[in-house]
């Protein structure tokens, strides 16, 4: 009886150790790209250009997603404010996907991402006539790496001046 109990406890401790050590390794990987990704959405500034002071030109997405993050919405509000001030400027929203998807689906996904950005600009008062959408799918990555950080930079919608 007691023997089984001791055995069971040892097993429990062993399992706990295993779980803990597994966690430790995972954390180490996470710190590598800490500050540049949240979940798998890119939060760094490596590739970002500026339409004007304090107006970043691009927003980033999670894998297979077209949902705008809090940071993306902030960026787009800044873009909307800038567009309201510069009423003569029209923009193209270029939607992109990472390389981990089929070409045709990625074309559609890029279009969906650019439209998510477009819809948000429109709710902040920018006329749809000033915005066109162009999907590049996975055809124009900004980072040629084959790793999660590179992919996160490539999942983007970039606002480009059209005139």
């Amino acid at each position: 009886m007691t023997l089984t109990k001791i055995f069971k406890n040892t097993l429990l401790i062993l399992t706990a150790c295993l779980v803990l050590s597994a966690c430790a390794t995972k954390k180490e990987i996470a710190t590598d790209i800490e500050g540049k990704m949240q979940g798998d959405v890119y939060t760094g500034t490596d590739t970002v250009k500026y339409l004007a002071d304090g107006v970043p030109d691009r927003v980033f997405f999670a894998t297979n997603e077209s949902i705008l993050t809090t940071a993306s919405r902030e960026t787009l509000r800044a873009q909307a404010a800038w567009l309201r001030k510069n009423s003569g400027i029209n923009v193209v929203l270029e939607g992109h996907a990472d390389e981990r998807g089929t070409r045709e689906y990625n074309l559609a996904l890029g279009e969906r991402r650019a439209n998510a950005a477009k819809d948000y600009l429109m709710t902040y008062g920018i006329s749809s006539e000033r915005i066109s959408v162009l999907s590049y799918g996975k055809e124009r990555p900004v980072d040629s790496g084959s790793n999660p950080l590179s992919w996160s930079k490539n999942r983007r919608s970039v606002t480009v001046k059209a005139n």
Partner: protein, 446 residues
Amino acid sequence: MIKKIFTLFLILIPIESFALIEVDITRGNLDPLPVAVSPLSIDEKSRKSFEKVLKKKNIGEEISSIVENNLRTSGLFNPLSKDAFLQAPDIANFKPRFEDWNLIKAQALITGKVNYIDEKLRVEFRLWDVLAAKEMMALAFTTVPNNWRRVGHIISDKVYERLTGEKGYFDTRIIYVAEEGPKTQRIKKLAIMDQDGFNNKILTLGNELVLTPRFNPTSQMVTYLSYFKNLPRVYLLDIETGTQEVVGDFPGMTFAPRFSPDGKKIIMSLAKDGKSDIYTMDLENRIVEKITNHPSIDTSPSYSPDGKYITFNSDRSGYQQIYIMKSDGSDVKRISFGRGLYGTPVWSPRGDLIAFTKLHKGKFYIGVMRTDGKGERLLTENYYQEAPSWSPNGRVLIFYRETKTNDKGEGFSAKLWSIDLTGYNERQISTPMDASDPSWSSLLSN
């Protein structure tokens, strides 16, 4: 058009059929049939004439080596080394000494003769069953000398068909995208080549991005996506004349085009306001029909060979899966239920299978499943590969594969590969530049 250029006379010499040789095609290349391809014999006068016209020293040997190469790459045949051949080509074609061919373990023998007659190329060939000491087939062709490679492919198709009982796929072409330049700024051009990688020809200049070319059933037209003037739209290209035209007038990006099996319609996706739906356009009367209507992404449509059904890719369940529906858009049914994401479904020309790309746990697979989604078989696994296209006999799949780059983002390449339906005989098809998005033509001579 192709047929106009290629004036071909087929003279079928009837023979008694008692074929003893049979190639087991269900097992792939496990036990390829030993076959001797004797060089086509040629008289000295004809040889010299062809040398002058085609700049080939011995056209008979050249044509035989095309046949040899085709049979070898099919994985079903093992062409024996010519060094072991005991009988001279001209005598072998007249009357083979079967004991000699038996001695080197050849089970089938191909012999033939080339002549230069009235500025034309005349080729006759014979297929012999060595063990039964019988002629199995004898055919003769006459054509313009420039078609010599095609003659090699047609002989290969006839031999393949006679020995396997299935149509061949050698007298075919591949349309694909030739690529070069850094990964972030790839230059892409439409290109076409023979199935064996010869006669490469670039069709567009590379000024704009072009993607996903696909042949029509007669292999004279190609539909593809072009970013001409930064407006991604589906285009049509006439291969012979080089004429290009945009397909329809759509208010958004059109992409993922394919022809219907009768060649009369183009089926494609239209992306607008964040959703992609499937449409068809009749090429004669320009009538556009909307086939799917769903807030999700519906793309990569492909018709069944009888035109009654369409398989496509949709994320309406939340993730990319494969669906089938009737060609009018009714009766939508999901058929992929395995783990992972499924894309680019392509209906087999035989009708019984759907080839697809699958992404699971960071790996890409090319696989096939039955049209009810059952019997999924993954043929090959890699870092990145997609876009399978069927050989016209439904026996081989061609696709493209991209490499993982290193830490500095270097070392990217894209190449064409083919694999047998059984999962055996995977091989790279060499191209002058990097290559992607291959599409296989129908048999050109038929």
